[in-house]
Amino acid sequence: MQTKKTSKINGRFGEYGGQYIPETLMSEVAKLAKAYEYYRNNSDFQAEMMDLLKNYANRPSLLYYAEKMTNDLGGAQIYFKREDLNHTGSHKINNVIGQILLAKKMGKTRVIAETGAGQHGVATATIAALMGMECEIFMGQVDTKRQALNVYRMKLLGAKVNSITTGTGTLKDAVNAAMQEWSKRTNDTHYVIGSVMGPYPFPTMVSDFQSIISKEIKQQLQDKTGKLPDAVVACVGGGSNAMGAFYHFISEPTVRLIGCEAAGKGVNTQQHAATIERGSVGIFHGMKSKFLQNEDGQIDEVYSISAGLDYPGIGPQHAALADTKRAEYVGITDDEAVAAFEYIARQEGIIAAIESCHAVAYVMKLAPQMKKDQIIVCNLSGRGDKDVAAIARYRGEKIYD
């Protein structure tokens, strides 16, 4: 049967993935899948992309040995993959470069994107500016207010920012609005999804674009130590930086893969975003995966101190990695993440994104339990300048820029 055959190539990860989107978008998504399948093996495209990653985004990012933290924690050797040193300050740019370059090849002249905290929106607006593409960003009204600086940043980069008032006015509503906008106008427009989510080919494509992270880690760690890591730790919102960090280690059975979800005020409260730990299987935003939802399938309002992890779903490949236990997923609370934010600043002089600090927090627990000849690589997905004001407020100081 045609449908069965098609669904086999629709990027399934176990039962997860698929293309659950309105027919208004299907033919565009199919076109995208085809284009992507062509260009992923096209050496000119790959070369052009590598050139941008290298000469614009500042890759490769450093693999940094955190000697002070290693000594202080007294266990495994800790390395940080410094995605915070990329242009625009996070891993998001890896994906955006790939997608906008692809969009350009497809003849698009306009890109749209959702954004929560603004990181993905800023990255998209940045590459759109560089490539001379029109750019519109969709952002929940609540987020436009609490991230006003990022809104202005996107405008500076020439993007139009739409404030979304529907639903909870946060990230998932921004995704809804961006999908709706795309379903209105696909002929000249590509929707740059910001994580390993959405319908096929997005989870596969974004994961491919982010896989450069683990490719570099593997090579760099080999050069420095001649070894594979014993554990790779990354935070998980939609899951793109984690997929990027895991990718080339999935087939290495000795490497533990650990994703750190936002446990907010605790997974036993109503205020968290711990999808793997507390979610259930569902179908939303174009994919079958795990979601935080009620028994009727209504999507939950979620919470995390970290705007980048504040999403009720997770990429389908993570759901599959969790099911097969190839990767472990742990919840990190706001308190733990903030403590890690402060710890890494003081120990290593690195102000890391609060998202990334969810991973750092787990490293603080894990390292002392491991042996001194073992190696943890922790992905620092972004820099934390954007978070300093919020952390100050968390600590009771009133600070405005």
Binding site: T3, T24, A30, N176, K184, S280, I283, D296, G297
Partner: protein, 280 residues
């Protein structure tokens, strides 16, 4: 016996007799939409009955979803109103049961896949059969993923109404192949909501669909005036009106029910003009 009716008879299963029948009484079908539980359980039952009283041939009952990606602001707001009074999937079925006590009108559900998935595919469609639902429209289920629910719609003889969009193009033959119920043609890109102008390639789309199926074709998305409806009726088998009705419901006044019946009559008149002319 019309050709359409004959076709139905020949099919392997007879799930959607009532639904197909809506298209066969010598006139074009008028299909109206109501969000279940908007603004209250009782009032939406009344709205459905008012549509039926006004002559609607099929009534599309929307199952509220937290994130209705295919819907515009009008229906999104209706969902929020319904949630505010505590609507659940279970209650939607109860609501259909209430309607069935008083009307035999053909009912279909507009429901996002996750609501069905979480309820359980088997349980959901079994329930549909039990309460008298003739078909489902699942906006986020393209043909690529249809095999996910098809076994259950077949088992419980519930029509799985396929959607065709202006961009469907080459996909049409596959989409409409083995259509049960009717084909839902999305008249314009984007989401639900009233529009002053409809897309221009509607005729081409309908021609393309007719090449691949005998199933009736209803057109929706953006239709609200009798003039628009009449034009659509001239080329399609049915006209679907959603947001325009939901907007009347949103007014929520003493005369809302009358207004719905009146609007339905007015739209019906515009749609059936052609029928009457044919019947002369």
């Amino acid at each position: 016996m019309s050709r359409q009716l004959r076709d139905i008879e020949e099919r392997k299963f007879m799930t959607e007799k009532r639904l197909r029948a809506a298209f066969t009484n010598q006139h074009k079908a008028f299909i109206g939409f109501v969000t279940a539980g908007d603004p209250t359980f009782e009032k939406s039952v009344a709205a459905i009955l008012a549509l039926a009283a006004g002559g609607a041939d099929v009534i599309e009952v929307g199952v509220p979803f937290s994130d209705p990606v295919a819907d515009g602001p009008v229906i999104q707001d209706a969902d929020l109103r319904a949630f505010a009074t505590g609507i659940t999937t279970t209650k939607v079925f109860e609501l259909v049961g209430e309607v069935r006590k008083k009307s035999d009108v053909s009912l279909v559900l507009l429901v996002y896949l996750n609501n069905i998935f979480k309820y359980g595919y088997d349980r959901f469609f079994s329930k549909c059969k039990q309460v008298g639902i003739d078909g489902v429209i699942i906006p986020d289920l393209p043909m690529e993923e249809r095999s996910e629910v098809l076994p259950f719609t077949l088992k419980y003889q519930c029509a799985l109404i396929p959607l065709v969009a202006p961009t469907s193009g080459d996909r049409i033959p596959q989409i409409v192949q083995e259509t049960t119920g009717f084909v839902y043609v999305v008249s314009s890109m984007g989401v639900t909501g009233v529009r002053s102008q409809l897309d221009s390639n509607l005729e081409d789309m309908i021609t393309a669909i007719r090449k691949s199926t005998d199933a009736p074709i209803a057109v929706g998305f953006g239709i609200h005036t009798p003039e628009q409806a009449a034009k659509i009726a001239a080329i399609a088998d049915g006209v679907i009106v959603g947001s325009a009705i939901v907007k009347i419901i949103a007014e929520n006044t003493a005369v809302t029910i009358e207004k719905i019946t009146g609007y339905t009559r007015q739209m019906g008149a515009a749609i059936h003009k052609g029928d009457r002319e044919k019947n002369l």
